[in-house]
Amino acid sequence: MLEIKGLTASIGDKPILNGVDLTVPPGEVHAIMGPNGAGKSTLGYVLSGREDYTVTGGTVTFNGIDLLDMEPEQRAAAGLFLAFQAPVELPGVNNANFLRTALNAIRRAHGESELDAVQFLKLARAESKRLHMPDDMLKRNVNVGFSGGEKKRNEVLQMAILRPKLAILDETDSGLDIDALKIVADGVNALRGPEFSALVITHHQRLLDYLVPHRVHVLANGRILRSGGPELAKELEKSGYAGMIAEAA
């Protein structure tokens, strides 16, 4: 599914990723943990094709195709979804209209027929009901006037509607209370299946209680420092990153 080899990337002259190796097989959920400034968000942005970052080396393949050669929208059409740490506001743009346009762009890329407004609303309402989100989320303008928690939930709703093959969640749990946290976890768990993988970037072990990962990776100084099973997250919760980083150095 996702195969990252020796990935290096910088912003301006500043290297952020210093050789990331990571493989996420189909059907698996992997967690990325690490201290602030480790390059976790950068990894999410580089994978989704944000232009502010320059890839200086390495390869990334996604279901066998070279991901780094694609435009952001082509990556989205290929099934990659990034839940933003700070979702962006689009004043005047209705959430339902935004999502329908996005879904139809992806469907077009796959040679599928587009959904009309009625078909789309039916789908979107069903998804928001399943995620226990109020209907009015769809009527509001994209993220405008949303609370921090609502923005994160909106990301999960978008993910549920767009049905990606690989979801990258960039600290979607930050700033959420326990109920909202469960909604996020439920959103990802509902998509689980042999065709779906997720890369969950988080600071806290708490999310992983609800969203149990197959593997946990520790990212520090732009490299994967250690990988392990879900127990690795529990270990980090107790002992922190400092010891592990010192040990590696």
Binding site: D52, A76, P91, G92, A105, I106, L162
Partner: protein, 494 residues
């Protein structure tokens, strides 16, 4: 392979500026000789079979124009216009003003069809409630260069007492109405371009809504400039008697040409007690190519007089075309509690220049006005909002609210806001809000991450920005306008 196709598409969209209405129609034309003098004005007047008073009115305007200078205060820049190097009259050779649709040159019908303007009155569908069908019907007056070639649904409208016809016909058939109102809102010597229009105007629409009548369908006029080296000077006059209502829309396009063409129109609206006029414009004159060559100079005077108490005039405009736009649809709020509204979206791309806005002149007690202006600049263009709100001493408790927002795409364009506020009544309230924003990279990336192309993302963000104005347009035109915005901004990012 994909990259090659993409490059080709990009080159195509840049070189054609995305203007899809730029074709030329070959049709035999009857031209007046180039140049402007009293003889030309006499010729226009006689071609239109006008009464003597109309000719005198024109000559008076011409005399005034000769003493006037082109205004220089707008933030627009163009080489001097040679007013002697233009044709002031160009008409398809067949007899002007056909009496029925069957008489219209099929070439012309074909052209309007290509532009998506229905000149055929479709028969009502069997088994359909006529009331609902009525609402979706639109009566169209089609003006080709200097003449109106067809006006649809005239008979249907006449049943409710509504007059909708070319102004040249109104001058002959309804001289008393025309004489009473023409020039009463925009005087002949109001400004340089209005004076020029008054001297040489050739056609346009005339609308009269009798007392208490709600016009049974949308009225619309479609203007097409086709002939080379020809100015279009249209004149529109809409009169809404007490308690009447009308919604009117105008659209316009022109072929793609290297030289600039002049379009100087005058529109006058009159609303009596409790009357409502909604005037919507989707302006899509050829804007010139990506390097700023060619395009229409659109110098227009539009003004409405709310003469009656509680009368209301609402201007909605979506301006995407023209090389230069100079246009300030205004309201003179004379009646007590009369209402003026101005909703505007002005888009400039490449080398387009727009200096547009409104004037709200508050005379009546308790008169109210709302101005919502959305300016979008891309490429090397300049977009200026210029607005005047004037509260006269008589305007007790009058109110104005103005919201001016500018959106910049790229870093080579300019947005300017020039509000003039004059209040001579201490009880009057004037509010002005203005913002300037840029389409942020993170907004574009967010959209693209969800699968939208960059162009679609810009379209979505721009439409969101304009929503407050677009929702004021009649439904079917709002959809058109949305598409037009996307086309106008094609190739503006990246």
């Amino acid at each position: 392979m994909a990259a090659v196709t993409e490059t080709l598409d990009t080159v195509q969209s840049v070189t054609q500026s995305g203007y899809k209405w730029g074709f030329e129609t070959t049709i035999e034309m009857d031209f007046a000789p180039k140049g402007l003098n009293e003889d030309i004005i006499r010729l226009i007047s006689s071609r239109k079979e006008e009464p003597e008073w109309m000719l005198e009115w024109r000559l008076k305007a011409y005399a005034a124009w000769l003493k006037m200078e082109e205004p220089q205060w707008a933030r627009v820049d163009h080489p001097p216009i040679d007013y002697q190097d233009l044709h002031y009259y160009a008409a398809p050779k067949k007899k002007a003003g056909p009496k029925s649709l069957e008489e219209v040159d099929p070439e012309l019908l074909k052209m309007f069809e290509k532009l998506g303007i229905p000149l055929k009155e479709r028969a009502l569908l069997a088994g359909v409630d006529p009331d609902t069908v009525e609402n979706t019907q639109i009566a169209v007056d089609a003006v080709f260069d200097s003449v109106s070639v067809a006006t649809t649904f005239q008979a249907t409208l006449r049943k409710s007492g509504v007059i909708f016809c070319p102004i040249s016909e109104a001058i002959r058939e309804h001289p008393d109405l025309v004489k009473q109102y023409i020039g009463s809102v925009v005087p002949v010597a109001d400004n340089f371009f209005a004076a020029l229009n008054s001297a040489v105007f050739t056609d346009g629409s005339f609308v009269y809504i009798p007392k208490g009548v709600r016009c049974p369908m949308e009225l619309s006029t479609y203007f097409r400039i086709n002939a080379r080296n020809t100015g279009q000077f249209e004149r529109t006059l809409i009169i809404a008697e007490a308690g009447s209502q009308v919604s009117y829309l105008e659209g316009c396009t022109a072929p793609q040409r290297d030289e600039n063409q002049l379009h100087a129109a005058v529109v006058e609206l009159v609303a009596m007690d409790d009357a409502r006029i909604k005037y919507s414009t989707v302006q899509n004159w050829y804007p010139g190519d990506a390097n700023g060559k060619g395009g229409i100079y659109n110098f227009v005077t539009k003004r409405g007089a709310c003469r009656g108490d509680r009368s209301k005039i609402s201007w909605t405009q979506v301006e995407t075309g023209s090389a230069i736009t100079w246009k300030y649809p205004s309201c003179v709020l004379l009646g007590e509690d009369s209402v003026g509204e101005f909703y505007s979206v002005a888009v400039t791309n490449n080398h387009q220049q727009a200096d547009t806005g409104t004037k709200m002149i508050h005379v009546g007690k308790g008169s109210r006005s709302t101005i919502i202006s959305k300016g979008i600049s891309a490429g090397h263009s300049n977009n200026t909002y210029r607005g005047l709100v004037r509260m006269l001493p008589s305007a007790t408790n009058a109110r104005n609210f103005t919201q001016c927002d500018s959106l910049l795409i790229g870093d080579q364009c300019g947005a300017h806001t020039v509000p003039y506020i004059e209040s001579r009544n201490p009880t009057a309230k004037v509010e002005h809000e203005a913002t300037t924003s840029k389409i942020a990279d993170d907004q574009l990336f967010y959209c693209r991450q969800r699968g939208l192309s960059e162009e679609d993302a810009v379209g979505l963000i721009v439409n969101g920005f304009c929503k407050d104005v677009l929702k004021e347009l009649p439904m079917e035109f709002a959809v058109e306008a949305q598409k037009l915005l996307a086309v106008s901004l094609e190739g503006s990012v990246g």
